[in-house]
Symmetry: C2
DNA sequence: AAGTTCGGCAAACACTTGTTTACTGAATGA
DNA sequence: TCATTCAGTAAACAAGTGTTTGCCGAACTT
C-alpha cells in the first residue's frame, strides 16, 4: 500500500528501519524497559534528536516491533493449517514450523517472549490483544476439522487457547535451548509432539462441557 | 537455623527485608533489569551506600527474591497434591489454589512471570532451574496415582511439564486479569478447569509413546 | 531558477545513575 | 569501662539519561 518512493521517503524509511533493527539487536540481551533513546540512536548511527523524527516515544517503537513480530506469526500459523493430512501429520508439521520459525526470527520471538509479561504496559497489551486474535484464528480453523463436530463455540475457543499457550511455551523453550544448549532442541521437539498427541487424544474423547 | 538475635543482627535483617520489600514493590511496574540501586535504597529509606552492606550486586537481590518466590510455590503444590479425591476434585482444588496463590502473593508471582524470560541471565536461570525441580516433584506425585499405571518415566515427565506450563500460563492470566479486569477471573478459572479436564481425558486414553 | 519542506545534526538543559570514600555512633565483647 | 566492630551516612566521582533548541543542506515543489 505504501509504495511512495522518492529519494526522500526512501531514506526516511531506511532510517526508521535502522532504528527498529538497532532496537531489536539491543533487545537481545536486555529488556525493553531498560532501552534508551540515546542507546538506540547510537546503535543505529543517528543522532539522538533524529529519533523523534520517527517516533514520539520509545513505547511507539516497541509497538511497531510488536506489529512486525506478529505479522510473521500469522504467516506461520497459516502455513501450518493450510496443508493436508491427519492429526499426526499436523502435529509434526506444527512443531517443525515452530522450531524453524524460532530459528529464523529469533530476535522477534525473544522480544515477544520477554515483553509479553514485561514492564511496559502498552507493549504488553499490544501483544496480548494480538495473541487473542491469534487464538481466534486457530479456533476458527479447528472448527472446520471433522473432529470438532458437535463442539460448542466456547469449547473450541478453550481448546484454541490451550494450543496457543502451548505454542508459546514451546517457542520459549526452543529459544532458551538455542542460546544455551542446542542439543536440547530435539528433546524439546519430541516432548512438544507427545504433549500435542495427548491433547489431541483428549479432544477425540471430549463429550462437551 | 538462623535465630541469631542481638539487636545488631536484628536491625540488619530488618534493613535487608526493607530492601527486598522495596525491590518487590518497585517491580510492580517495571522489570528487574531497569531497577537501580539508588531507586531501591530510596524506596527502602536507606542511603545508596547501605545497599552494599547487604548485597554485592543488584542481581544478588534478584536471586534472593527468586528463592523467596519459589519457596511459597512449593508450599502451594503440596497443598494441592496432599488432599484426597478423584480427578475432578483435584482439578477444582488445583485451580482454586492457583487463583488464591496469585491473589495472596501477587508481587512474587508477577516477578516470576516477568523475569522468567527477562533480561537478566542469572535470575532467568534461577527461575528455570527451580521450575524444573518443580516439574520433577509433580511428576513423582503423578506417578503415585493409579491412573499412571504402565506409564514410563519419560511420559510422566512429559505430562508433568505440560501441567507446570499450564499452571504458569494460568497464573499469568490471573495476574493480568487482577490488575486490568477482575471480572475475567471467573472465566479464566472456568477455562483452566476445562483445559485440565481435557488433558486428564487424554491421559486416561494414553497408550504410551 | 527560486522557494519550501523536512530529516538529520551538534549543543545545551537539568537531571539520574553506580560505586567509592572517609566518617559517625550505637551495639558488642573484654 | 574502654576498645572494637560495623550498619549506615553524606559527599564526590565520572558518566550516562530524555528532550528541546536552532541550524544546515539536500530533496522536493512551483
Amino acid at each position: 500500500m505504501n509504495h511512495t518512493v522518492g529519494a526522500r521517503q526512501a531514506q526516511k524509511q531506511q532510517s526508521r528501519r535502522a532504528l527498529l533493527d538497532a532496537g531489536l539487536r539491543l533487545l537481545a540481551d536486555q529488556n525493553f524497559a531498560s532501552l534508551g533513546v540515546r542507546e538506540v540512536t547510537r546503535a543505529a548511527g543517528l543522532s539522538p534528536a533524529a529519533f523523534y523524527r520517527h517516533f514520539p516515544d520509545l513505547a511507539a517503537l516497541g509497538v511497531a516491533l510488536v506489529e512486525e513480530s506478529l505479522a510473521s506469526l500469522h504467516v506461520m500459523i497459516r502455513s501450518v493449517l493450510a496443508g493436508e493430512g491427519g492429526a499426526e501429520e499436523l502435529i509434526d508439521r506444527a512443531v517443525d514450523v515452530i522450531e524453524q520459525h524460532v530459528r529464523e526470527h529469533q530476535p522477534h520471538v525473544r522480544f515477544l517472549a520477554r515483553e509479553r509479561h514485561g514492564g511496559v504496559r502498552r507493549v504488553r497489551e499490544a501483544i496480548d490483544a494480538e495473541l487473542g486474535r491469534f487464538a481466534e484464528e486457530v479456533g476458527a480453523a479447528l472448527g472446520l476439522q471433522p473432529v470438532s463436530e458437535g463442539w460448542s463455540e466456547d469449547d473450541l475457543r478453550m481448546l484454541a487457547e490451550l494450543y496457543v499457550d502451548h505454542m508459546v511455551s514451546t517457542a520459549a523453550a526452543f529459544l532458551e535451548a538455542q542460546e544455551t544448549d542446542p542439543a536440547r532442541e530435539a528433546h524439546i521437539a519430541a516432548t512438544a509432539r507427545l504433549q500435542l498427541r495427548l491433547i489431541s487424544l483428549g479432544r477425540r474423547h471430549w463429550q462437551g462441557s
